[in-house]
Amino acid sequence: MGLLDREFSDGNIVIAKTEDLLNWARLSSLWQLSFGLACCAIEMMATSASHYDFDRFGVIPRPSPRQADIIIISGTVTLKMATRIKRLYEQMPDPKYIISMGSCSNCGGPYWEHGYHVLKGVDRVIPVDVYVPGCPPRPEALLEGLIKLQEKIRHETLRKKTA
């Protein structure tokens, strides 16, 4: 990542681009909104628990959206819940990221055809950064999704995006 390579011999001074430093700090402590929807939330819990240990990636569950950087949409988004999810997203401070976990929140999943109360993909209400496929995805798949998100954050730039 080039951040710690350019270190002077006495070890007290590190030269890095502000961008790199900010990105490095952001991607290493992604605080997650502890928010579960359905079956995938159980796999998300299993990912946070002993075997898979989300903590080693700097992911710590926070109960309040005001303190969260990342929201994992883990499960079926119903029409009744969609407005609430949008509000939760809007309450989070910038920069904020979204992982859509599982088929249901990607596209409606098994409820795509007859689910009259199921939103066909959470990306219809909020912008998604990483999609994790599976029904439910294995914890390893969620970890892979998180690593993909970290890669994405690493290449972010401070320059204003042209719309």
């Binding site: 502890s34 928010f35 579960g36 929807l37 359905a38 079956c39 939330a41 159980i42 796999e43 819990m45 299993a46 628990a49 002993s50 075997h51 569950p61 109960p63 959206p65 499960g75 079926t76 119903t78 009744k80 819940m81 609430r84 939760l88 098994p110 409820y111 055809e113 007859h114 689910g115 009259y116 109360h117 199921v118 029904c135 439910p136 294995r138």
Partner: protein, 377 residues
Amino acid sequence: MDKLISNDVKTEELVLNMGPQHPSTHGVLRLVVELEGELIVNVKPYIGYLHRCFEKHCEAMTYPQVVPYTDRMDYLASMSNNLGYAIAVERLMGIEVPERVEYIRVIMAELQRIASHLVALGTYGVDIGAFTPFLYCFIAREKILNLFEMTCGARLLYNYIWVGGLSHDIHPDFVRLTKEFIEYFKPKIVELNELLSFNKIFIERTANVGILPLETAVNYGVTGPVLRASGLKWDLRKNDPYSIYHKFDFDIPVGDGRMGTVGDSWDRYFVRVREMEESLKIIEQAIDQIPDGDVKAAIPRRIKPPKGTIYSRTENPKGELGYFIISDGSVNPFRVKVRAPSFVNLAVIGEMSKGHLVADLIAILGSLDIVLGEIDR
């Protein structure tokens, strides 16, 4: 409780919204709490945030296609949901399943009961403020999930128990590994008791909190560990035996008010701990007797039940899971109605939490062990 507020100070009634995004509602439940100071006057659950149209799907699917959707109702106990549905359709069609299938089904259902209770106990600890037992519970749960994964390839939603049989036979190593798990898990229950059940702080938070008298429980139609904690020995595995449960010797633990009053939150918690021991007993008896046979032998080529209706109920980890199926003689069920245990158990929360402190509401809700996927369906 009256000592906590002085009666000459009148406060305004406050309405507090809990959820749908709240870390302790175990999903997307919204509770509207009416408070008088810090005391709860009334609690109203509002549901429907996870309504996934299960019954509508059943109308469009064929009978075997419904099985994966039953998985996703109580997603902590998928095997038990499959089992209930399979038994209902088998009774409707009059299918006799081979002995080997029955044994494997019972073993799977009991392993699932342990896994489901482990999540209930672990997350209950988190609700109260003890994080460590959650991690311990999940270590043991992963071992059960490995057994399931070895059998059918899925960790959470299995689609394993089919109408008339099973999707796969068990792995050659399954029996050995299950025995290893039993040996591993027995001391873990003792460990959990030392860590959480008999912890002074935990008892203070849960004993005498949310007392559910037996009469109220029966009037509300509450089932499962919640009912048994109130003191009634009612378990469908004994009272209305299905599959081959009559062959096994096991007890039905009931609440005895050891730490406070019969039917308090601690009793509901501890009934689950003791049920895990009983489930281990059943698995121990069944694992050595699995007969030979073909697990797919009795699966019908075309599942087309005759005209008629059936109501069939099984004992889920959460309580009585009932399937009411109307068949019009075609390949699609005309209607599948589910009696979900969590839905009925949740209704009693208003009655239980009246007069308690608002902080105790979490302890009461957690002790009910609800799953929103099953409540909203």
